[in-house]
Symmetry: C2
Subunit: 245 residues, 2 copies
């Protein structure tokens, strides 16, 4: 058995470029969308890619992810940002050795995100389309996106990630739509409501009510995220599977 103490002898180490890629997910028109940018230079010129950039030596990986998110979306601060994987296959970038650390950012639909950007360079793409083979992604970004979506499905059950998809106040129907879309299930509104309200702390009623839609209906109560959206599950994933995701 060889015991190799970690010496970091420079002669034994190759150097890599380290990047941080941020998979920005959001709900738009009831569907899960991902923010993609179109590459303007080779390699993979013209193809869509997950936004990202180089890590600087004087910042942590988390800080680099925050910086990238800010640069790409203008969103700052306590936005939900979660590291979920590192990718370093040889040849994943044809020009140099690159190891990328992938982050997941969950945002509520930001209109300035699509509006304020030249559509040819950045766009919100439905995840189903981005992974459906229609859109060819640069590098190994299809794999990274697949892993990101898998991570969301797990985190939705284990953490309070769901509220990051909706606004500061929300109706339970809006929140339920997040679970239904990400998990590809249909949840009973009555039981969903009880699951969340059974344990005090998940959501807090604001006392205000939302405007009903044009077709009428009783106005829904507005809630805000409670203290303990981390860790523990408000609802279990073992719902009835829908036809498609």
């Amino acid at each position: 058995m060889v015991v190799e103490t970690q010496t970091y002898d420079p002669s034994a180490s190759s150097s890599f470029a380290v990047t941080v890629d941020v998979v920005v997910l959001t709900m738009s028109q009831g569907r899960l969308h991902v923010l993609l940018v179109r590459r303007g230079v080779p390699p993979f010129e013209g193809m869509w890619a997950i936004p990202g950039g180089f890590k600087r030596p004087d910042e942590t990986l988390d800080e680099a992810a925050h910086r990238e998110l800010l640069e790409e979306t203008g969103v700052d601060g306590a936005s939900l940002l979660r590291q979920f994987g590192a990718y370093g296959d040889p040849g994943r970038d044809p020009r140099m050795n690159v190891v990328t650390v992938a982050y997941l950012a969950v945002l509520r639909a930001v209109r300035s995100l699509a509006a304020g950007t030249d559509a040819a360079e950045a766009a919100l793409v439905p995840v189903a389309r981005a992974l459906g083979g229609k859109v060819e992604l640069a590098f190994d970004h299809a794999r990274i996106l697949r892993d990101a979506v898998a991570q969301v499905r797990v985190d939705l059950e284990l953490t309070g990630m769901a509220t990051a998809f909706v606004g500061p106040t929300f109706t339970l129907t809006e929140l339920r739509a997040v679970f239904e879309e990400v998990w590809g299930v249909r949840l009973d509104p009555a039981n969903f409501r009880r699951s969340l309200l059974a344990v005090s702390g998940w959501v807090v009623p604001t006392g205000r009510r939302a405007q009903p839609g044009a077709s009428g209906g009783r106005p829904a109560e507005l809630y805000r995220a409670g203290r303990r959206w981390r860790h523990g599950a408000p609802i279990a994933a073992r719902g009835t599977r829908r036809g498609s995701g």
Copy 2:
């Protein structure tokens, strides 16, 4: 809003050394243990560290982790190996910019692991001791070990990681001990048995029986891991918490 396409312009990137650290966890005398190596050179000379080494440009991160595990323990092949985090804080290595990708390896107690090694250079240390402030770990390895243990607790519920702690055949009492130790709970043997056997596929009876201990007792049936130890949970974590972990 700045749309920064990923150009990998070398002038914009700094170079990093990339290492792979492998947190080897195993059960020994009923307690969770971690394999640590003692550093023979500065920095942190004489302190304990998580084994690891440099990633080579021509191998994937997973391959690097497998190679490190083989070099450290002699264990090869389909051993349970799982990436769980990347660490790149500036200054985490005082000499150079290092980003490390951390892996979790779960092994059943290998006697050659402790026996075949000079005790001054590698040792199995109880996790409680390694994280209890008694043992000072090099670099940010205390944080990495904490994250690894947190990951095991989650994976034990979400995947079939538990069987990786025991031998190719095992009694249900052995398997239950893994859950009890990692989660810090006390589980009812009767209900634990039912939980696993209720869904066929988790464990498969071999027909053979284990030898009872010196103090007698009915010999336990021997099982082997079933096909579907991934994904889904054989047992939920919401057990009664014990006094200590």
